[in-house]
């Protein structure tokens, strides 16, 4: 596929042109950090930050989403009958998503399309998006994405890979899919980059990957049995500091768990899908009062067993972590997945 060279001016124009056809989404500086937002007309994505504080998963898996509506009015002929909420999925282009985050959304898709069932809320939103990723030239000190089957230039989940071209504000745009091609056309990008561009991108990729000093290994975890890892005697120590908040699960781009809640407003109501976290006791509490994960360390253990073992065993596609480092940076108690992985991998 083609690689375009986009200078600063064409970039601004191109985004404006593509905004005629696509709803543009990009990182925006909010208060003291970056988050993905739908861009206003003329608003440019702020591509100066390394990572958004929350992952972009909310674009396909919102914090709270109305799934269905209902009436409980006995006079309504449709009383107590669930109706699918009307939803629109405008064509979207997500500008500046990091390659490992795009890979993370592919991991979410494995969960939401499991062969037997498809979650339409996730899939419709996902399919509507063209992922225009931005390669990471200067990885953060907590980035360990290359150990996780992805990396700063990973193309797996992307439709277009943007690479900062060196000159101020210029990009190379590597078109990876038809979807990506369509977006580039809508943006009017047409100037193909010079013949040495692939070599240049390859070199930048190598530099970026080499700049990543943080690594994890899970080769021994793969070989150990679930029970060996689960019953290991380190968990209470490993999890001691954990306060069982949902910070890691909500910041994580691959954490997919959710809750379903009904809310009533007079005789009408909605059924909502909300983010949920395996860190909470309520997550697994039985109606009888019995809780299979009653103790705090059991919940911490679940999170890491899921990411590093259960997922890996189930899908055979590596671990349920893309090494973005958000949980490491944001954890109030310094629970560090890299350290836990090392403990499990001994």
């Amino acid at each position: 596929m083609k690689i375009y060279h986009i200078d600063r001016e064409s970039w601004v124009k191109g985004l404006a042109a593509s905004a005629e056809v696509y709803q543009l989404v990009g990182p925006v500086r909010e208060k003291d950090d970056f988050d993905f937002k739908v861009l206003d007309k003329g608003q440019m994505p702020d591509l100066t930050g390394t990572d958004t504080r929350l992952s972009p998963k909310a674009l396909v898996f919102p914090k709270s989403e109305i799934m269905m509506t209902f009436s409980t009015d006995p006079n309504d002929p449709d009383c107590n009958i669930m109706k699918e909420a009307k939803k629109e999925y405008p064509k979207r282009a997500v500008i500046g998503i990091r390659p490992y985050d795009a890979r993370a959304l592919q991991i979410l898709k494995m969960n939401y399309d499991n062969g037997d069932y498809q979650d339409p809320y996730f899939l419709n939103a996902y399919e509507a998006i063209t992922f225009v990723g931005l390669a990471v030239n200067s990885p953060s000190s907590t980035d360990f994405s290359t150990s996780c089957g992805t990396g700063p230039f990973d193309e797996k989940g992307l439709d277009v890979l943007l690479v900062a071209a060196g000159e101020e504000g210029d990009f190379y745009a590597k078109i990876l899919t038809d979807k990506g091609d369509a977006w580039a056309k809508a943006a009017g990008f047409s100037k193909e980059a010079g013949s040495d561009v692939s070599t240049r991108i390859e070199a930048m990729k190598k530099t970026a990957e080499e700049a990543i000093s943080s690594k994890i290994a899970f080769d021994k975890i793969e070989k150990k049995t679930v029970l060996e890892l689960f019953e290991a005697d380190h968990w209470e120590n490993t999890a001691f500091a954990c306060i069982n908040c949902g910070t890691c699960t909500y910041a994580c781009p691959t954490c997919w768990c959710f809750d379903i809640q009904d809310e009533n407003f007079g005789t009408k109501g909605v059924r909502i899908k909300n983010w949920d976290s395996c860190m909470t006791g309520l997550f697994t509490l039985h109606g009888s009062g019995h809780n299979p994960r009653e103790h705090r360390y059991q919940r911490t253990r679940q999170r890491f067993m899921h990411k590093l073992k259960y997922f890996a065993d189930k899908y055979g596609e590596g671990i349920m972590c893309v090494g973005c480092g958000r949980c490491v940076r944001q954890c109030p108690a310094n629970i560090d997945i890299r350290e836990i992985c090392e403990t499990m991998n001994k």
């Binding site: 409980t72 107590n80 809750d259 949920d276 697994t284 109606g287 259960y310």
Partner: protein
């Protein structure tokens, strides 16, 4: 794309108090839309989400048998927000059912085999479905001997009493009913389910499978009995319960290890369960 979260609308067709303490009621539902019953085609051992708008959903084993047409049946223990509300509902009211969900007892494997069913308390629902299915004249020939050990605290706490009595009279099924202690007019076994199992269960063989469903305490004491009788772990079949929301393998809370109780289960062999963390 079919939206797996949208329940089929059903009408409550019949409500029966199922136990003497009134903590369980049996609900019969009829599908409102013609065609939905066909889509809800299920096998014994599966469950469904009973869905009450404004209250929530609860996963409940299907108590009716696939051989029973025109309705589906569930027996529900009153415990949380949704079940409390369900117990207050009336015949004729509308609600939803989502399913069928999960796997079923391995009927293909069980063809031609002897079957020992061990049930306790109100976990008898999918077992009732199974017995009813196997006893159907069209199916009875597919299975060997059927032994049923079913125990409850008192005679009044046994589910589906009329049917139990009926089955008791048949010669193509051996019923071993028991209650925890002596009770007036009780002519069957007295004692806990594991002890009765030890007395009456058929010896293990390659052609004999045990299906165990009951409260944790019953399971805990029944498994050693089965082992003593020589039942191999791949011949012991169990149905697990965990907190669930989606029922379709997505919301992430019901896992035991990599298995999701809602989608990969609820039915597992003891062999499979032994490989997973005991988080149920």
């Amino acid at each position: 794309m079919i939206n797996p979260y949208v329940p089929y609308p059903v009408t409550i067709d019949d409500i029966q108090v199922a136990t003497e303490d009134k903590s369980l009621k049996t609900f019969r539902f009829v599908f409102k839309n013609p065609g939905d019953e066909e889509k809800f085609s299920y096998k014994a051992g599966q469950f469904a989400e009973l869905s009450i708008p404004g209250q929530g959903e609860i996963p409940i084993g299907i108590a009716s048998s696939p051989t029973e047409k025109g309705f589906v049946m569930f027996t529900v223990f009153k415990t949380g927000k949704v079940t409390q509300y369900l117990h207050s509902m009336k015949v004729g009211e509308t609600m939803g059912i989502r399913g069928p969900l999960g796997n079923w007892y391995p009927w293909d494997t069980l063809k031609g085999k002897n079957i020992l069913i061990i049930g306790g308390g109100f976990a008898f629902t999918t077992l009732r479905s199974s017995i009813k299915m196997m006893l159907d004249p069209k199916n009875r020939g597919d299975y060997g001997n059927i032994d049923v050990v079913y125990g409850a605290r008192t005679p009044g706490m046994l589910l589906y009493k009329d049917e139990l009595v009926e089955w008791e009279k048949r010669d193509d099924i051996r019923m071993h009913l028991t209650v925890d202690s002596e009770a007036p007019n009780w002519n069957y076994h007295v004692g806990f389910t594991p002890a009765v199992t030890e007395k009456v269960a058929p010896q293990a063989s390659d052609d004999t499978y045990a299906i165990v469903c009951g409260p944790p305490i019953m399971i805990k004491f029944t498994l050693p009995v089965l082992e003593k009788l020589g039942y191999k772990h791949d011949h012991i079949i169990m149905s697990l319960e965990n907190r669930m929301k989606c029922g379709i393998g997505m919301c992430g809370r019901c896992n035991i290890g990599r298995e999701l109780v809602c989608k990969d289960g609820p039915v597992f062999t003891l062999d499979q369960i032994n490989l997973t963390p005991k988080e149920y």
